[in-house]
Symmetry: D2
């Protein structure tokens, strides 16, 4: 059960509800959001009676939650979450498009990519300054130098910056430069990092772990939201299966499933999802047709020279063509673009 | 390598090519199609020189094939295969829609479903008379009685009939009633059955096995085609992964991958692919957006009373709505409907 | 629920129980075994009261079965099934070892393999005469010629013959020559074939499908047993996962799980389970340590010349060494060998 | 290629080799170990000639490495790594047994568990003070309080302490108390943490990620070793597959595969690997029979009251019985115990 307090509830109101919960032998979990406090209850075996709390001072609502995730659940908040990022949004009717190189490699590479994706209609620029790589001998990213280049590209193009934080140590720095902090698939259950994300003032793009179920993924989002940051978008980027002809298996089933279970926005990454350039446009179209709120696409001025993910990066011309196709599909599902 | 003979090549021409192949220490595999013979060559370590065969009498072409599948490969036949089924087609520009109940249960149930899907725009009726069931204690289908009801529904509605054959024993009977013979996921590598399918005069809808790679699936299709039946359509119906929130994981990556590897038509089954009624329309839209040539959808007049697959069957009204959505997406990807 | 009739129950007794079941709005499934009839009941929402049937003439027992599989369940039969094969057994204290080539290739190859595995202590000879192959262009087996060679090897060595049946058409022929009929992984849910296996007088070695859950596998065994053949052994041969360094992932968890769920014997196939010769002995040891009742191992006089599975076949010397190791592990878990 | 310097090589020797590598257009990766420097080379398309480096001052060896992992490879170091932990070892002939509760819950619980596992023959005590939990609402561990209790248990019993570090922030604290620092499955590719582990003076027990291939896992170990800490043991704890009857699928294939690819010790975790108490002993036996160097087993004085993993924890009596069985299997594979 989740006890949702009114916006003007006092600390004493909250304390009284917590005391009531403890008196029942249960555990209260107070979750302070920007505008109100909610108190999750755990430890109960069966359903609780909302009437236990509904009459108490400061209580707006007591909601039965059938899922283990609570704050991210549609049961708790029926309307879609729209994340405003300085005037552009993720979630809501309009499709958000994030595009850019896998890694920030140089000023020229990044600016060329940024201008191209801007011109084709993207509103967010992606690019990794800190790169999780399978091998310690591979390019690990430009670090702060890369963040500075992203800021430069933002300044020139007006694109909002989405970039990955790999750990708590560099998170403050990343959050300073980024408009949206991306959390990579391998960190989806890095719980220490998730808790920290609750405390930053920036939205989070949380990628699905390669073998995470949708419910585990929502629990990871619940970590961020329950620690104070409600601005989380979920990014489906393919799961690991037995099929080796594609890099991952893009699980588009997850899109309508998520839209039914959670109010958070859902973004699709066709680049990692299929892993082969030629098939990225088809999977981008499919993602939007399935109901996604946005796309994140790898674009490189010269994919064959990319330091990472070249085989799945689009050229600027291919990306412009993809945007045309996405525009048509967005229209077909009634989304402005 | 594949040596393709001219339509009028003589048995002696074929024998000469086979002898030449054997003289090189390799193995010829003659494949008699409706109009011509092709001779696959196996046993070679490296690439063969086409010139070895191109001058021989009756030889039209000697094609290097880099894939283990040959006759179904785009390398061997660049243009899309269009399967004509008595005036309607699978493959080609127009989207094919197959719809109907999981199992044929009764005359009333089937006719009601058939009329509804016909009215909404489907051109094929699905319905199982022989049902592969996990448990021996579950409903196993009406057998020939079910086939007769399908024929009746075809007569009344003009819909073409797609129905499953489970084994070689009943294949002749199924092929007599069916317009298209469906092979279920669990039989995708029933090689004895695949060989038999090469000898029937009816098109085959070959479902992907739940843990079959795309290449294994194409090899299964190669069995049918190499045994004489070139009219094969492939049906993606979801693969088995660790995710349990959906019945299967619909692998839409397979759609553009298949369209690049093979000339055979590709159909998507969103009903089994996601397994939950509410999400079927989203996945049908996504399938078409990804480039599929057709859909196969479970529709039941009264899903909650269905003897099988009720939870993933649409009502007639839901199916009519899905068809409207598919029509719009088909238009957006330039497919008449 | 399962109503187990006494051995001497009359057809009228059975009919009365069936009528009683129908009168409750439920469905009886009569299962005629060699010695008695059992009647499964399906269609009930909750548990039934055994007292409904226990007093009826000819009824020995009415058993609540919590699993969807019934006849193969430990709930229905607590003691281990021991399959006698002409004096040697599968199940029971002694470890059964089946060994031999993947395919029967020639008289010399088979006899050499048979003599070697006999000398090392195997009691069963394996060898495929009908081979399920991913590609139609690969060696498909010697068919009846192969069966005859197996019979010859049995005659010379006294080994019992285990060989695969791929379809209902050739099943009678295979069953005529084989001492145990093997069903391959891809046919585990070939329900038509499973039903036929219920009617043959030979034991069945049922391999697990590459993506079958343990419960689905037990349901497949239930098909065979419920159609009249109680002599079924289960063979774990690896499942398909994301790991590609090994051919399959041998799921030894399945061994103690099966031993708890079913009374049927469990055999492990380390050859297909790991797929690389060097690792077969380790996985054979592990299988026995986990509690398996037997092993099936590929042995070829000259693996590098094998027409199939050469990379996972042991030489006779390697097999002899493996047998020494298995003997020691069998002793350590208290199994004579 | 890996250029291994002699122990007394000078910085100038190292610099000369690096310069030579750069002059070939390649990238040197100097890796400073406790006793010597090794220089990995990346960027080459084909094999390099060892003679390029073998004559240079300070160079001991130039080794062709066919695998992407280098320092952990058997190619680079043929003999088994034995990790000495204050007089007891992981790796080497003797089987190492780590046992104890999933979480440290209280002084009584921990001491009772420690005494019991000590008495049964374990030499390491496990117990989590920082707990990665799927839900933010579940018990997260006692933190430093838990570490202090582990130190107390060590003092009383003499057992060495194995406990998990979840992040770089708490790593120094954990490393201060722990004898071996465990890295959980979900952190296997937390590259920031892996790099930090290279700098601590304690051995690392690196669990396999739930969807990590063996090669990715070895690359994760390579991160730790290449950053300066050669004392890494690998722990197989089950992978995620489609099978849901067991918590994970223990991949014992990985044991002989690892023993062939790497010189690092391999430990098996049957508790997480199967997830159900009744089956833990069978999988412990199988792990040792497959060639593992050690076991890590969850034991709780009262599993039904455990705050985490109760269903897979053994009672002290069950653990004592398991130890007896392991002793016999260890003997059977020639390992003292």
């Amino acid at each position: 059960m989740l006890v949702v307090m009114k916006p003007h509830a006092t600390p004493a109101d909250v304390a009284a509800v917590e005391a009531k919960i403890r008196s029942l032998g249960l555990v209260p979990h107070s979750i302070s959001g920007a505008q109100r406090v909610a108190i999750g209850i755990t430890g109960n075996k069966g359903a609780l009676d909302p009437a236990l709390f509904e009459g108490m001072p400061g209580v707006r609502d007591a909601i039965r939650v059938s899922q283990p995730f609570k704050l991210v659940s549609r049961e708790v908040k029926a309307e879609d979450t729209v994340i405003d990022v300085g005037g552009v949004s993720i979630g809501g009717a309009r499709i958000a498009v994030v595009a850019g190189p896998c890694s920030v490699e140089s000023r020229e590479q990044l600016l060329e990519a940024a201008r191209a994706v801007k011109q084709a209609g993207a509103t967010f620029l992606r690019g990794g300054a800190y790169k999780p790589r399978t091998s310690p001998y591979e390019f690990q990213g430009l670090a702060e130098e890369g963040l500075k280049l992203l800021a430069l590209a933002r300044e020139e193009t007006g694109l909002k910056v989405v970039t990955e934080a790999m750990d708590a140590e560099t998170l403050p720095l990343v959050a300073e430069y980024a408009d949206v902090v991306q959390i990579g698939a391998r960190n989806m259950q890095n719980f220490s990092l998730l808790k920290r994300l609750g405390t930053i003032g920036k939205p989070v793009l949380l990628k699905r772990g390669p073998s995470a179920t949708v419910r585990e993924w929502l629990m990871a989002a619940e970590y961020v939201v329950s620690h104070g940051n409600a601005r989380v978008a979920l990014c489906e980027r393919g799961i690991r299966t037995f099929e080796t002809a594609t890099r991952n298996t893009l699980d588009l089933n997850a899109v309508p499933l998520l839209k039914s279970l959670t109010h958070l926005p859902v973004v699709v990454d066709p680049s990692h999802g299929v892993g082969l350039r030629a098939f990225v446009p088809a999977m981008a179209r499919a993602g939007i047709a399935a109901g996604a709120d946005g796309l994140i696409v790898e674009v490189h001025p010269c994919p064959e020279r990319a330091l990472s993910d070249g085989q799945q990066s689009l050229t600027p011309a291919e990306f412009a063509s993809l945007m045309e196709q996405v525009r048509v599909i967005a229209g077909a599902v009634g989304r402005p673009f």
